[in-house]
C-alpha cells in the first residue's frame, strides 16, 4: 500500500506539470476516444509525405467524425537548419488559428525554403497583412518556445526515434507508430477501428 501511495505521489507532479498544447495546435474533439499526437519536423521529407498523404485521410475519417483528437507536436530535428524556425512560425500561426494553412504552405514549399530559408515569404500567402504584423510579435512570445520545448521534451521522453512518429492513446493504452508502416493507411485504419470497437 505504501508503495502505491509513493508511486502515486511521484506521479502527481508529472500529471500537474503536463501542459497540453496551445488550442491552435489541436484539431477535433478533446473528448474523442482516441488521441493522436503527431510528432513532426517541417523540414523532414517523411513528415511532408505523412502530412500530404496520410493526415488528410485521418482527418476526414476520424477527426471530423469525433473519433480522434489530433494534436500536432513540434519536433524540429537539430540537423535541419530551418526546422526550428519553421516550428516557431507555425506555432505562432497556431495562435492566430492558422496552424493548418501554415503547415500546408510550409510542407508544400519544403524544398524551396529548406534551401533558401525564406520562411516568412512562404507563409505570406496564407496570412492577411494584419496577421503578418501580429506574427512578428507572436513569434517572440515565450509561449512559442515553451510549447516547442514541451513537445521536444515529451518526444524525447517517449523516446522518439524518428519523425514522423504518431503516438496513439486510447484509454490507458498507448502505441508509438513510426517508419514505413505508418504510410500504409489500410493498416493504420485497421488499428484505429480495432481500438474503437
Amino acid at each position: 500500500m505504501k508503495l502505491y501511495i509513493a508511486a502515486l505521489a511521484a506521479m502527481l507532479p508529472a500529471l500537474a506539470a503536463a501542459p497540453d498544447t496551445i488550442p491552435g495546435n489541436a484539431l477535433g474533439d478533446p473528448k474523442a476516444p482516441i488521441t493522436i499526437e503527431v510528432f513532426s519536423d517541417f523540414q523532414c521529407p517523411g513528415c511532408k509525405r505523412f502530412h500530404d498523404e496520410e493526415l488528410p485521410l485521418l482527418v476526414k475519417d476520424y477527426v471530423k467524425r469525433g473519433k480522434v483528437y489530433l494534436v500536432y507536436r513540434y519536433f524540429p530535428l537539430p540537423q535541419h537548419t530551418y526546422g526550428r524556425k519553421a516550428a516557431e512560425l507555425a506555432c505562432a500561426c497556431a495562435q492566430l488559428g492558422k496552424y493548418e494553412p501554415a503547415a500546408d504552405a510550409l510542407f508544400a514549399k519544403q524544398t524551396s525554403w529548406s534551401a533558401d530559408g525564406k520562411l516568412d515569404e512562404t507563409l505570406a500567402p496564407v496570412l492577411t497583412p494584419a496577421e503578418r504584423k501580429k506574427l512578428v510579435t507572436l513569434v517572440k512570445d515565450p509561449i512559442v518556445q515553451r510549447t516547442i520545448e514541451h513537445d521536444l521534451a515529451e518526444g524525447s521522453a517517449l523516446p522518439l526515434q524518428s519523425t514522423p512518429t504518431v503516438l496513439v492513446t486510447s484509454g490507458i493504452r498507448q502505441f508509438k507508430i513510426f517508419g514505413e508502416g505508418l504510410f500504409n493507411y489500410t493498416l493504420v485504419k485497421a488499428t484505429l477501428d480495432d481500438l474503437l470497437k
Binding site: 526515434q161 524518428s162 493504452r173 502505441f175 508509438k176 507508430i177 513510426f178 517508419g179 514505413e180 508502416g181 505508418l182 500504409n184 489500410t186 493498416l187 493504420v188 485497421a190 488499428t191 480495432d194 481500438l195
Partner: protein, 152 residues
C-alpha cells in the same frame, strides 16, 4: 515432460537456454497479442517484403505460433522439433533485419510489439538469440539421436 537435462554441463546450458528462449517467445507473443493485430501488421509491412494479404495473415498467425513455440520450448515437449522451428524462425527474422539495415530502412523492428526501432543493438540481440537457439537445436537433436540409439 523434461524441464532440465543436467547430465552434462552442455546439456544443462542447453536446457537453461531452451527455457530462456521459450520465455522470450511467450513474452514476444504476449506483447503482440495484447495490442490490435494491425499494429503488428504495420511493423511487418515496414520490412517491405510481403504483399498486404500476407502481411495480415502473418500478423494474425505469428504471435500464436510464437506462443505455441514458447510453451513447447519451456515444457521440453518435442524438443528437437520446437528448437529447430525456433532456429528457423529466428534465422528468418535475422535475415529480414539485415536486409532492412542494408537497405537503410528506419523501421519498427516489431520484435516485442510496437515501438522499438531496428538498430545494430537489435541485430546483436537477435544474433545472440539465433546462436543460442542453434546450440539448443544441436543439443536437442543429439539427445534425441542418443535416445533412439539406446532404444535400438
Amino acid at each position: 515432460m523434461t524441464f532440465l537435462n543436467n547430465r552434462t554441463p552442455a546439456g544443462l546450458a542447453a536446457s537453461i537456454l531452451r527455457i530462456v528462449l521459450g520465455a522470450l517467445f511467450v513474452y514476444a507473443a504476449w506483447m503482440k497479442l495484447r495490442d490490435p493485430w494491425a499494429l503488428f501488421a504495420i511493423s511487418i509491412d515496414s520490412y517491405q517484403v510481403l504483399p498486404l494479404w500476407a502481411v495480415e495473415l502473418v500478423a494474425r498467425a505469428l504471435p500464436w505460433f510464437e506462443l505455441l513455440l514458447g510453451v513447447l520450448l519451456i515444457s521440453g515437449l518435442w524438443r528437437s522439433v520446437s528448437a529447430t522451428a525456433a532456429s528457423l524462425l529466428l534465422a528468418v527474422f535475422f535475415s529480414l533485419m539485415i536486409r532492412a539495415m542494408v537497405k537503410g530502412l528506419q523501421i519498427d523492428c516489431g520484435c516485442f510489439g510496437p515501438g522499438e526501432r531496428l538498430s545494430w543493438m537489435t541485430l546483436l540481440r537477435d544474433g545472440a538469440l539465433l546462436a543460442s537457439s542453434l546450440f539448443v537445436t544441436i543439443m536437442a537433436v543429439r539427445s534425441t539421436r542418443g535416445v533412439h540409439a539406446h532404444s535400438a
